[in-house]
Amino acid sequence: MIGRFSFYRHPGEGRGLSNPGRAVLKEIPAFAGMTVKVMVALLVMTTPVAARPMRIVSLNPCADAVLMHVADPKQIAAISHYSHDARATSIPLRQALRFPVTSGTAEEVLAKRPDLVIAGPHVALPTIHALERQKIALMRLDVAESVEQSKSQISDIAAAIGMPQRGARLNAAIDKALRASAPSDDRLMPALIWQGSGMVPGANTLADELLRRTGFRNMSSAYGLKQWDILPLEHLLARPPRVLFTAGGAAGRSDRMLSHPVIRRLSHRIVISDYAPRLLHCAGPSMIDAVKRLSQVRKSLKTLPPQHASFRRRPESPSVRQDQDLGDPSIRRGVGKKEARPK
Amino acid sequence: MDMTFDGISLNLRGRQILDAVTGTLRQGRVTVILGANGAGKSTLLSCLAGLRHPDSGRISIGDRDINRLDRLERARMIGLLPQQGDIHWDIDVTALVSLGRMPHRGRWGMSDADHHAIQAAMAATDCTHLAKRKALRLSGGEQGRVLLARILAGEPQWLLADEPLASLDPAHQLDVLDRLKQCARTGAGVAVVLHELTHAARIADDILVLKEGRVIAYGPRDQVLTPDILANAYGVEVHIGTSPAGDMMVVPIRRIA
């Protein structure tokens, strides 16, 4: 059933909001972050809505991942086509293949007769407007730049689909993973995450916070880089980090910049570790795997005095799975997608 | 009515191209413009066609300044055949000749008068058999005749031609010259820039000689085509004679040091 309300970017700006709804919005604590654009699902609770949505269409792979954990599979009418692409998916492929996909055009979405559409920040405007014109319930999510923002998105999604307790459960699992990954000492190891062709996540990104929580210091601010920036090798040489996480391309394929001869000179000072690119795409459930990986590297570093560290590549441990510890019997435990092992 | 130009001067990029050029194009007569390369002949024709504005001086038809005329009216009265026979697109010969009717045509389509003028022009230049051919596939000579047909189709009162014989064979050269003479006989005023002095002798009623932008001689043919004036204009010694049929011949012999 197509509802008659929609969610917009800015709180309080949309049409169809009841006055009590607006008043409640003003009380939202600032933890939602400075880039709050997510419409709080309190709207859902103040507006009379019949049953929980049974035909959800998601256009965003990160939302797909959350839905896999909090939604009843029968509720999902379609997920995004990225989830069927092994390179872009944040869900185990075998699980994703059980759901139909749309390529994101309005007519495909409409053909599924959705009662809720979840879209990320980069859906083309004409598509958004086409859906809004048909008065379909539309939930727009921003890129989560902090753990709190991601958890609140999970709560919002869970509330919107009528499964708030599952959202709470996923958030609890995330908290548990964060606690388990917290470092045992106070030292903040200088570290850097290096995506393909030199892109480095800086301050105010999720990766930055995850590094901090697992005992690292993101060197990008020290280098003066912005939120997303390209790192010149000179900075790396002048003040080398302790750990360099490489998330470029398929594991085993060396990055052009990292094969630079000058990096070999630093081999006694820097540890280079693989970091699955998938962990950088989305927040949500991927954060659990991300902090596991980060803490694994952190713990291994504790045992090595810096001056004796040698150049080595640390392969990703095969024990990291995607859907562990979530305890939801309705989601079948798959084998999980293994990362390709480096040679 | 005559086209009179009085004191035409033009300075381009520091060079005085035309300097106080004065003369008259009379209707019904052919005026040939002679002069060495760079003497300013083409520039004078451009001014007479209204394409260039002289720095000083006045060009008038009757007592109307041609540069004050309505653009289309001027186009109807004066036709220019430029030296470069550009043809940019491979259009039908008939379409090309029809372009000459542009100043006369109404907004839509062509009238009988238009068609008649086009047919007459093509017949006069021996192009009728070329009607359906493509302009760029023609030989140089054929293109020359077709371009002349274009200007004839416009039935201008003043016909200005800049070296129209360039790529024509002798037979067609004579045809074009005779056609231009015929235009004058039927009432148009014709001004032609020519290089071949015998050709000039063949059709000229009046001759205007330019040297370095100035008029050094202007008058009826026989008064101007003299060895002295031509030596001054071109720096060559000429021999002037008569053919057995009585046509005047002017033959350059050698350079004068």
Partner: protein, 322 residues
């Protein structure tokens, strides 16, 4: 083939192509359901029909602009993009994306049109009052290169890789999910532009003989220049506002129809419009039918079509010169 027959043929093909476009999409909607009044006709009437009309209109506008540009510059390799107006319109649109003004459905197209208007004024200022073609072409190239650099600058300054990718994706051109609002905005502007272009027809014919002869036939070259700038600016500006940058239509289509229409510049205008509409409608149908995860970008599809065209042109020229 006569003019009339050519135009009727193209019109018929265009109508068939528009039908194909209404049938194209990842969702199959059988023709019987089109007017049934529920979801199926929603898809057809609110999504596919405006898209089809927009594709035909943009194709016609770009085809006609290309024909006029080639006639005006007397150069069969001229393209409406040479004036730099598509670059400045794109810069306007990209600015609205960059500064976050693209919230309203109308703002991005309006910014694009503003960019086109600024581009046209700059062109007029740079080229000056002479009708010189070289000056004009240079002014257009300067404008195109400045807009291109500024657009690249905005892409490089984008705060996140996602924002950069959003801009780049828009630039590649697409008609996905356009609505009747887009049609209402773009169509009048394109129509005005095409009317201005239509008025150049006779002067373009006269230009076949070169500028001197044309002027002696009464052509007002200054007025012609304004009409060309206005016509190309409006048509290209509206096209970019609606769909991003779509190239090659203005270049390919006049070439294809010129031998059939008889080479006279004025005779090429209407067939170019019809053939351009046909080409773009077909291309837009193709990007929806091609089996790929998401729609192929329309600008890319046109570029892919353009490359073999140029190869064919090259081979033909080699054969003629050999």
């Amino acid at each position: 083939m006569t003019q009339l027959r050519l135009n009727l043929l193209l019109l018929g093909a265009l109508l068939a192509a528009m039908l194909v476009s209404l049938l194209s999409g990842k969702v199959w909607v059988p023709p019987g359901d089109w007017l049934r009044g529920d979801l199926a006709s929603l898809i057809i009437l609110e999504l596919r029909l405006p898209r089809t009309i927009l594709a035909a209109a943009i194709g016609a506008a770009l085809g006609m602009s290309g024909a006029v540009m080639q006639g005006y510059l007397r150069n069969p390799l001229a393209d409406p993009g040479l004036f730099g107006v598509s670059g400045s319109a794109a810069l306007g649109a990209v600015s609205s994306l960059y500064f976050g003004y693209a919230i309203s459905a109308l703002l991005l197209p309006l910014f694009a049109l503003a960019g086109a208007a600024i581009g046209m004024s700059l062109l007029a200022m740079l080229a000056g009052r002479s009708g010189s073609l070289i000056l004009f072409t240079l002014a257009g190239m300067i404008l195109a290169s400045i807009s291109g650099s500024l657009t690249s600058l905005l892409i490089s300054l984008a705060p996140t890789p996602f924002a950069a990718s959003e801009i780049v994706t828009w630039l590649l051109g697409a008609l996905t999910d356009r609505s009747w609002d887009d049609v209402r905005l773009a169509l009048p502007v394109m129509a005005a532009g095409m009317i201005a272009l239509a008025f150049t027809a006779r002067s373009l014919d006269a230009l076949t003989l070169g500028e001197a002869a044309a002027r002696s036939l009464g052509v007002d070259v200054r007025r012609l220049q304004w009409l060309v700038v206005l016509g190309v600016g409006l048509t290209v500006g509206a096209s970019v506002a609606a769909a991003g940058i779509i190239g090659f239509v203005g270049l390919i289509v006049p070439h294809l129809v010129r031998p059939l229409a008889g080479h006279r510049p004025s005779a090429v205008l209407l067939p170019s419009a019809l053939a351009g509409a046909l080409l773009l409608t077909l291309a837009d149908s193709l990007v929806r039918i091609v089996p790929s995860a998401s729609e192929l970008r329309l600008g890319i599809a046109m570029s892919l079509l353009g490359a073999p065209f140029f190869l064919a042109l090259l081979f033909r020229m080699r054969r003629e010169l050999a």
